[in-house]
Symmetry: C2
């Protein structure tokens, strides 16, 4: 049911389509859950997807303003709060930046590959990682509420690109 974005989409992928797909997913999800995906929230979510890599809150604020909306920091942060609470957006805390979640409605976990070269982020959904984490934590009597895994490095494309030089 969820859109399956390839990790690190190639430069020539159908970006417009991929954004609108994500939005349709979000709309459907909110509908189904009785969540109010207001115009503002929709707009912010669209901007996040359109950037297609982690965006800062103040960058979103600028973009909102350019789209003609009157906005201040709380405008953006409140929209982000809503989107995060409902699993439509993740925060990459090592970068103070936000990305669209490719499988809305999932648990509150996230795994990111962050390419230091091109800045793109791919979201993983590796069940094995999840289960190993759960196991490790439980052994210590720790009850897991949520977690984030942020992996920095170099993506395949950038590796090849640098070899070409």
């Amino acid at each position: 049911m969820t859109h399956n974005n390839p990790p690190f989409p190639s430069a020539d992928h159908d970006h417009k389509n991929c954004v609108s797909h994500a939005l349709k997913n979000a709309e459907a999800y909110c509908q189904q859950q009785g969540l109010r995906l207001t115009k503002l929230r929709h707009q912010v979510l669209e901007l996040i997807w359109a950037n297609h890599q982690p965006v800062g809150a103040y960058e979103l604020l600028d973009q909102l303003t350019h789209e003609g909306r009157k906005a201040a920091p709380p405008t953006v942060y409140r929209a982000l709060d809503f989107l995060m609470e409902n699993g439509l957006v993740h925060r990459i805390s090592s970068r103070n930046a936000y990305v669209g979640c490719s499988n809305a409605g999932h648990e509150h976990t996230a795994q990111f590959l962050i390419c230091e070269s091109c800045g793109q982020v791919a979201e993983l959904d590796n069940a094995q990682i999840g289960s190993v984490i759960a196991k490790g934590a439980n052994q210590l009597g720790f009850t897991v509420a949520q977690w984030t895994l942020e992996i920095s490095g170099t993506c395949d494309q950038c590796k090849h690109r640098s070899q070409d030089e």
Copy 2:
């Protein structure tokens, strides 16, 4: 060789000893690596361990000032940079806070259990997690440079404490 802090040390553990142990480790490590653990850096590291849970940079700044040192933000941040570069301290990015690293000199990876109730943090060193991550990333052609795993939840002690109420 490294001090093996139990995850989530009990309230009655020998705190003073545990701090001085960590400092001795750090001193030895720096000696051996030819790193300059200056007075300032030593002082900051000591404060971090003394807090024994994630501390913010400005909190450290306050504490430094109370110890009579003239300090401004860069004072702290530079010490933190040094300590992090050399694996003596980790940054918990989901909290903008810093903790002592229980096994200095390790790779640039970190796994934290963060108790939402008592605020304490335990550092894991689960090799299985590391290898699953490496494997998952490599499958996508991604070269891992470093990673952080931040797990929020409730520690064993807090779980029992809340049952007693």
